[in-house]
């Protein structure tokens, strides 16, 4: 009896070990946030690399949940090689050793727009959020952030992203703070209080969204009248027949980065991959099928591509506000707490 149980246990253990080692032999894996962007990247970038080099590339989707990546690195079971991350997560992950240092002997630093390369990541794509509304319901809508906060001129429900990021900046802009001073003012207690006083004026009118699909759904169904939404999604909806007006003067933008996960068994190959997919040639192919806003200088500044895709976020930097990564790493926790306390009042 005992012997039989033991032999079953041993066999199971042996099988588990065999399965674990089988999972080691996997394709080079690149991970992004999914959606239409990733579909176009798969066609133009990932498959392109596979054809050019003969290295099979698999891609996967995650929600930006860093706990998963930390878990992988800490347990030594790294199944993602290259990964797209937002700027604050890149800085923190780099400090925590979650991402490998970029090998700039493999990656050409000069092809990027200014500020798009760092110790652990290289610029992938710009993204932004701006005010939009349905012109079928409202022929006229808010053109500036101040308009968005003006309930007399534009009565109705508004929708903003849950949390202090972009919300407090918008409140200060609406209250007359100059763009270049926003983060200076927000770094003081008086500045934060001022932002919340301004937010109080529209508090009852705000519906808070959590995922990027929600503002489109809310505006599309008439649940809200005006919303901050991700520009790429709004432009995509317009190309599918929606009549949304987007105002670039209300833009908040940042860059998502490509990084290599520390401890990846295919680190060198991953470096080559993220270098290849940020090159001019592949990005031109991607730009032909999706309105991207790459951090590659040549593609970003190409007048042909700009004309074909007026929604390139990084070309609207003059109108928009660049979200300050370092500010949010330092003040994020405190402002999140203040935001929650304010919301509960």
């Amino acid at each position: 009896m005992t012997m039989r149980i033991l032999s079953v246990l041993t066999a199971t253990a042996a099988k588990a070990v065999a399965m674990a080692s089988a999972s080691m032999a996997r394709d080079l894996t690149i991970v992004g946030f999914g959606g239409g962007y990733q579909d176009s990247a798969r066609e133009a970038l990932f498959k392109g690399y596979q054809e050019a080099t003969g290295t099979p590339v698999a891609d996967d989707v995650y929600n930006g949940e860093m706990a998963k990546i930390y878990g992988m690195v800490q347990t030594g079971n790294v199944t993602y090689d290259a990964i797209m991350v937002e700027a604050p997560e890149l800085v923190r992950g780099c400090e925590d050793g979650i991402f490998a240092k970029i090998d700039y002997s493999v990656i050409n630093r000069d092809k990027f727009i200014e500020g798009a390369t760092s110790e652990c990541g290289i610029g992938g794509t710009g993204w932004g959020a701006a005010v939009f509304y349905d012109t079928v319901r409202h022929p006229e809508g808010p053109k500036t952030v101040a308009d968005f906060f003006d309930v007399e001129k534009f009565p109705g429900k508004r929708s903003m992203r849950t949390g202090p990021k972009m919300t407090l900046e918008a409140a200060l802009l609406a209250d007359g703070v100059a763009k270049e001073d926003v983060y200076k003012v927000l770094a003081t207690d008086e500045g934060v209080a001022r932002a919340f006083v301004k937010l109080d004026t529209i508090k009852d009118q705000i519906v808070w969204w959590k995922s990027g699909a929600q503002p489109l759904q809310l505006v599309g169904s008439g649940e809200v009248d005006y919303a901050f939404g991700y520009t790429g999604r709004v432009i995509k909806a317009n190309s599918e027949g929606s009549k949304y007006q987007l105002d670039w003067d209300t833009l908040f933008y940042s860059i998502d980065y490509w990084a290599v996960v520390e401890g990846s068994p295919m680190k060198d190959e991953a470096m080559k991959l993220i270098n290849w997919i940020t090159d001019e040639g592949p990005l031109r192919k991607q730009a032909a099928i999706w309105p991207i806003s790459p951090a590659n200088k040549a593609v970003n500044e190409d007048p042909e591509i700009q004309k074909a895709n007026p929604g390139m976020v990084l070309n609207h930097s003059a109108e928009g506000l660049f979200i300050n990564t370092e500010f949010w790493i330092e003040h994020g926790d405190e402002l999140e707490a203040k935001f929650t306390a304010w919301a509960a009042q």
């Binding site: 790493i329 707490a337 203040k338 306390a341």
Partner: protein
């Protein structure tokens, strides 16, 4: 060990392993994460050692300044430095900037550092900052657990209430338990007659009725919550019907309210109350009620004195399950609730994925576990019969 004992050990081994690996280890690990405090000592080992000898009055000696500059300028601390800045910034907002500036200037500073460091970055002339480092050089900290109760540790080490404009957690815990208690009560009130009705049906009819209970139970929570989202929205079917019939003049705000949270949570959790109740009611033969009736008890008396006490273990078992599940709800309030309806797990997710502060994650989880446990224990004491709910 006799062969027989060995066999019994082997037989329970899988269960034992499961309990240890799935329950004891994670909770133990969470407890450690909630109090461990390695960041400052790892990044500033020399400074921590010197400050250990410091009495905490005025400014520390030159040795501390030198140790700090050496620690920060040193090569080895590249990776631990970031963790340390965020750890100290959590205690005192703004510290991260000071430390990043210090790192930029550290290499160019010259002795005596007690003069050159405050000259370059004036904040180092403030004893508070040094006390902060000293306080946080100890291997364990209570600050995560305290912060989760809206209490802060000042640089001197005294406890203070978090100012009202940042105090959120007490409110969050109260709200979480308040919502959970209401959901539990509503579920019990709705489930009791439903389960009773099903228990009176013929076997065939009862199995169809059970199917109606179980089909939603087998559907994913996310799908059911999204369905409520569509039903409750301003231009959704419920509002359209109410306006169409003339009950409402214009659509009511149903979605993003506490009402929506209750509706969706009750819908998701109702089967957990119906199923144990049904199994208890099914086993009650009619003889007890007949006996009560033959002794002259009117129907309300039969119910209150006989049927309710007999079926109460089912209520208690279901309620305990519903309550414990509600306390940890995340997706449903996140989707159909407003900002004022979010529960503790919303913040656990925030600290896990955005703030990446596992100390706070662990502290909130532990407190939630402890408070839920306490409430269940108290409820079992207060409510008669609830003690046998497990046997039910």
């Amino acid at each position: 060990m006799s062969p027989k004992t060995r066999t019994s050990w082997l037989l329970i081994a899988p269960l034992l392993l499961l309990v240890v690996a799935g329950f004891i280890l994670p909770i133990g690990y969470t407890m450690i994460k909630a109090v461990e405090n390695p960041e400052v000592t790892a990044a500033l080992p020399r400074t921590a050692m010197v400050l250990d000898q410091w009495d905490g009055k005025d400014l520390p000696p030159e040795a501390a300044f030198r140790a700090l500059v050496e620690d920060i300028a040193g090569e080895s601390n590249g990776m631990t430095f970031g963790a340390m800045t965020r750890r100290l910034n959590f205690e005192l907002n703004g510290t991260r900037t000071i430390l990043l500036q210090t790192r930029r200037k550290a290499a160019s500073l010259e002795a005596p550092y007690s003069a050159s460091l405050p000259a370059a970055i004036p904040e180092w002339g403030n004893p508070e900052l040094w006390k902060l480092i000293k306080t946080n050089s100890s291997p364990v900290t209570a600050s995560y657990l305290l912060r989760a109760l809206d209490i802060e540790v000042s640089p001197e080490g005294t406890l203070e209430r978090v100012p009202a404009d940042r105090a959120i957690f007490i409110d969050l815990f109260t709200r979480t338990f308040w919502i959970s208690i209401w959901v539990t009560l509503i579920c019990a009130v709705l489930a009791y007659p439903t389960a009773y009705y099903i228990s009176t049906l013929s076997d065939r009819a009862a199995s169809y009725a059970m199917l109606l209970v179980l089909v939603p139970f087998w559907t994913s929570i996310l799908v059911r919550t999204t369905a409520w989202f569509i039903l409750l929205q301003t231009e959704g079917p419920i509002n359209n019907a109410l306006v169409g019939v003339g009950i409402l003049q214009e659509p009511a705000q149903l979605i993003f309210t506490r009402f929506a949270v209750y509706v969706a949570m009750v819908h998701v959790l109702l089967p957990f109350q119906i199923l144990p109740l049904y199994s208890v009611m099914k086993r009650q033969g009619p003889q007890y009620l007949r006996a009560a009736a033959s002794l002259g008890a009117p129907p309300w008396r039969q119910f209150l004195s006989v049927y309710l006490p007999l079926t109460f273990p089912g209520v208690a078992a279901g309620a305990a399950m519903v309550f414990m599940l509600s306390v940890g709800f995340y997706v449903t309030p996140a989707l159909v609730g407003g900002l004022q309806d979010q529960m503790v797990s919303y913040y656990i997710a925030f600290f896990t994925n955005q703030s990446i502060n596992f100390g706070m994650v662990a502290a909130l989880s532990l407190l939630l576990l402890a408070m839920t446990g306490t409430i269940i224990v108290i409820a079992r004491r207060l409510i008669p019969n609830a003690g046998n709910s497990i046997q039910a």
